[in-house]
């Protein structure tokens, strides 16, 4: 099960029109399929497949049929008149989501066609009405084929998938209430995303479980199982010991997105923002012009693929090694030591390779430098250590003292103060003094609307709203808890910055032992006889979807899990979006 591979196979078939489209082609996309295709295919690759123009169907500046251009003298003219010769001998391959808007755009396109042939691929199940609408408007019979290819998500890593769908926290909070209708389109997107995952990975879930504490998870699970039951396309051959589809909700674990991260991919997203594998370094000091925006893609960058889950220390060493290798390479191809024509020719041949290597090295060095600078400025080492303690250990008085100290200190940045306050509130919701913390935060410089977020997060993911398991409330009885805390205080922890284990990992581990309780995660489909006795069958594949968003920390832990259990279980994680603390707090504000 490899999400990147699945999407790449689809796009491979699309760019050749599934074998039926030869010659020069144009690829027409919409907003979300553009992101999907850009994640797996580079411009050079798509050019080598004879796709010479990639254009968006819904963008009026790229689609002349849509836009009206206001001339300088105030008259309105259709862009159609301005462009003199339309490339109408080209064939168009369209890859679109099956929405009504796209259907309308296609109808407009077919009414005044720009290309000689159209091969249409939809990224989801097409309703009969949509198909009829397009069929009735294709007078000149330019559409040569219509197919469904279910690549409806963005594969970031081989086991991490996102839908890039924001504002799902609000959707989750509104499920079952009167406001649910406002988020209907988001819900639709999420549902189709889950179905797309199942179809492109060719898995039919033998068991479907959902998180009881979330009405959204239940509704989503029910809708997905209805779709599976009603449509033949979802039925695949059963493999091994079955597949489990697990639908979770972010509110079960509001702590993980708030923590600072120390592994490469997670850290870049947390401090700089990693969106669709692109990082913007513009605005940071000492950045060269061609490094203002860089790409961090595991498919194209070998170094990143090996080190995306490496922690900060190991990363430093790896970059050092990369730099040394590069210097050795350039020393043997030094331009100042070229003595003969043969040397020069050999240098020219090696030059493109050297240039791309140099760009790669400088990109990682620049990123590392920027991350180190930000860690320094925000004193993230201290803050993160305290965060981890707040998330993992239970020691009210020490924590309170340290929290007050941090909130009053000037070296801690204001967003970090907010995060610390929220972590405290989540942990000591019942036993601690949240109001005192709030006043301390106000004194420390946190603004009024940000302090409100503390209440919001308690409302969203507090102990009343979420399921058990966040602070080890689930299965551990007092003895195990005490032994664990004694052991940790005596032995110490191997890495104080990586103590925290997200609730997701506990859930997955329980599934592998067959001990996931039915009270917290009931079965919708595939309940085995005698379930709940603690010996449920362990599925071979687990597809986890977290409505509301995942965090890179969870992705790292899942990857580690996959690596240590190569032949027993494989997990693929999907989420509505990938959160960092900024995006999580923003979405909380709208709640």
């Amino acid at each position: 099960m490899d999400a990147v591979d699945a999407i790449r196979t689809y796009v491979d078939r699309i760019v050749t029109g599934d074998g039926k489209c030869r010659g020069m082609k144009v690829l027409l996309l919409d907003a979300s399929t553009t992101q999907t295709v850009s994640c797996v295919y580079s411009q050079t690759e798509i050019l080598s497949r004879e796709v010479y123009l990639v254009s968006r169907l819904d963008d009026s500046s790229q689609n002349p049929n849509l836009g009206e251009h206001i001339n300088a003298n105030g008259s309105v003219s259709n862009l159609n008149d301005l462009t003199m010769s339309m490339p109408s001998h080209l064939k168009a391959v369209c890859y679109l989501r099956p929405t009504d808007i796209n259907a309308g755009l296609l109808v407009r396109e077919l009414a005044s066609p720009r290309f000689s042939e159209y091969h249409i691929f939809f990224s989801g199940v097409v309703s009969g009405g949509l198909l009829r609408l397009i069929a009735e408007n294709d007078e000149q019979e330019l559409v040569k084929q219509v197919q469904e290819f279910y690549g409806d998500f963005l594969p970031i890593n081989e086991d991490l998938v996102t839908l890039n769908c924001r504002n799902t926290l609000a959707m989750s909070a509104a499920t079952g209430t009167a406001w649910a209708r406002d988020h209907a389109h988001l819900y639709e997107r999420n549902r189709r995303g889950v179905e797309g995952m199942l179809l492109s990975l060719r898995k039919q879930p033998t068991q479907i479980r959902y998180q009881r504490s979330s009405a959204l998870a239940q509704q989503l699970a029910r809708d997905v199982s209805d779709s599976i039951a009603s449509d033949q396309i979802f039925h695949f051959r059963k493999s091994g010991s079955g597949t489990l589809l697990l639908i979770l909700d972010r509110l079960d674990d509001p702590v993980t997105p708030l923590l600072s991260q120390w592994t490469y991919q997670a850290m870049v997203h947390e401090l700089l923002g990693l969106n669709n594998n692109r990082v913007i370094l513009r605005g940071a000091p000492n950045i060269a012009k061609d490094l203002e925006e860089v790409v961090l893609s595991a498919q194209q960058d070998e170094f990143f693929r090996k080190n995306r889950h490496a922690n900060f220390g190991e990363l430093g060493e790896a970059i050092q090694k990369l730099l040394n290798d590069y210097q050795k390479h350039t020393a043997s191809h030094d331009p100042s030591r070229l003595n003969s024509i043969e040397d020069m020719q050999r240098f020219m041949e090696k030059f493109p390779e050297l240039r791309s290597q140099s760009h790669n090295v400088s990109k990682h060095v620049a990123l590392m430098g920027e991350l180190a600078r930000l860690v320094d400025i925000c004193s993230l080492m201290d803050v993160s250590q305290f965060e981890q303690e707040l998330a993992c250990a239970d020691d009210h008085s020490t924590h309170m003292k340290e929290l007050m100290e941090k909130l009053g200190s000037s070296s801690v940045k204001i967003p970090d103060k907010l995060r610390l306050g929220m972590l405290y509130a989540l942990r000591y919701e019942d036993s601690g003094d949240v109001n005192l913390v709030k006043t301390a935060m106000a004194r420390g410089g946190v603004s009024e609307d940000m302090i409100e977020l503390v209440d919001t997060i308690l409302r969203y993911g507090g102990s009343k709203a979420r399921g058990p398991g966040l602070y080890g409330e689930r299965s551990k009885d007092l003895m195990t808890k005490m032994t664990k805390s004694i052991l940790t205080s005596v032995q110490g922890v191997s890495n104080v910055y990586a103590q925290h284990v997200p609730v997701l990992m506990d859930t997955v581990q329980s599934i592998c032992k067959g001990k996931l309780r039915m009270e917290s995660h009931p079965y919708l489909v595939g309940k085995p006889p005698g379930a709940g006795a603690g010996n449920d069958p362990v599925p071979e594949d687990i597809i986890v979807f977290m409505a509301g968003g995942v965090a890179y920390e969870e992705a790292t832990k899942i990857e580690e899990f996959n690596r240590t259990n190569p032949f027993k279980v494989k997990v693929i994680l999907g989420g509505s979006t990938i959160h960092n603390s900024t995006s999580f707090l923003e979405e909380l504000k709208i709640l």
Binding site: Y10, L47, Y52, L53, L131, V143, Q145, F149, N360
Partner: protein
């Protein structure tokens, strides 16, 4: 990967709706013409309209033929390079062949042919570039993308070609210098033997006839080797010069420029920028200061002329 083909359903629906549309069209026209011929006229009309539409879009522009020509050249070059490779290996393999010169001549001809093909391909590619740039809009983007991708392929082939040539050159050099050493060794041996025999007198007279012949032989070999090396080096140089220009078009892989979505945003940005620049240019042209000055000066001249005429008339009037 799961997929579903809806083409047949789509075609059925389309056929049904098109038939319905035609029938509706026929029904509407009935009052204007008599019965049977009516259908025929309508069909003709539709057909001719269809023909007009397709004829307008059917003929692809000239540069598409150029692109096909470049593709053709690329495949020819690949094929010929394979032939050249086998000729190289056969030449290097045979040390004492009789028609070595003939083989070398053929190799040279083939090398020149391939170089010419590279040059024609490059010319076609440049023609494509200018034609599409002139057309503007989407065609320009398509043209530049075509140029980039084909330039990359050509560059890879030329690198391979140069490497092949260099390897061949090195092998030939090694062979010839090895042969030279062989001959030198023989010369040394002969010298010893000859010296050993009737010796001392011969040495005093410098080179004997035999030794002279050997020296001539050696000199010839050196000269021919030099010529070969010069030829090959020249062709490599030419090839290098050709692709200096096209190398600029090739994108660095792995950078932000290699992202599809970035390129789409960049196009939008450029078009928007272009439009604003054009508008700004237009307005500034209208408001140009020079225009005002010209108008002012013309008025001044007219005014002065009037004064002159008036004065002249007055003078005449006096008389």
């Amino acid at each position: 990967m799961a997929s579903r083909d809806l083409t047949t359903t789509f075609q059925e629906r389309r056929a049904a709706s098109n038939m319905r549309r035609r029938k509706a069209g026929n029904g509407g026209m009935k009052p204007f013409a008599k019965g049977g011929g009516d259908d025929f006229h309508l069909e003709e009309g539709a057909l001719s309209a269809g023909i007009d539409r397709t004829s307008a879009s059917a003929l692809p522009p000239q540069w598409v033929d150029d692109v096909d020509a470049v593709h053709q050249e690329l495949s020819d070059i690949t094929r010929l390079m394979g032939v050249l490779q086998s000729m190289h290996s056969s030449r290097v393999g045979s040390v004492f062949g009789k028609d070595l010169d003939e083989v070398e001549g053929k190799i040279e001809k083939l090398t020149r042919d391939i170089t010419d093909r590279f040059r024609t391909a490059e010319r076609y590619l440049q023609r494509v570039g200018t034609a599409t740039r002139r057309a503007g809009g989407e065609e320009a983007v398509v043209g530049s993308n075509v140029q980039r991708s084909l330039a990359k392929k050509l560059q890879e082939l030329s690198v391979e070609f140069r490497q092949m040539q260099r390897k061949y050159l090195a092998d030939v050099q090694a062979q010839k210098s090895g042969g030279l050493e062989g001959r030198e060794a023989k010369f040394g041996l002969m010298d010893e033997e000859g010296g050993g025999g009737g010796g001392g007198a011969d040495n005093d007279f410098g080179f004997t006839m035999q030794q002279q012949a050997v020296v001539d032989d050696l000199q010839e070999a050196v000269q021919s080797r030099d010529k070969e090396i010069v030829e090959i080096a020249k062709s490599i140089e030419e090839l290098g010069a050709i692709f200096k220009e096209l190398a600029v078009l090739v994108i660095d892989q792995g950078t932000i420029l290699d992202r599809i979505d970035y390129n789409m945003e960049a196009v939008v940005e450029h078009t928007k920028e272009g439009i604003t620049q054009l508008e700004r240019a237009e307005t500034s042209q209208k408001n140009a200061r020079p225009l005002k000055c010209i108008v002012f000066l013309v008025c001044l001249i007219a005014f002065l002329l009037l004064i002159l005429i008036f004065k002249h008339r007055r003078r005449r009037g006096i008389f």
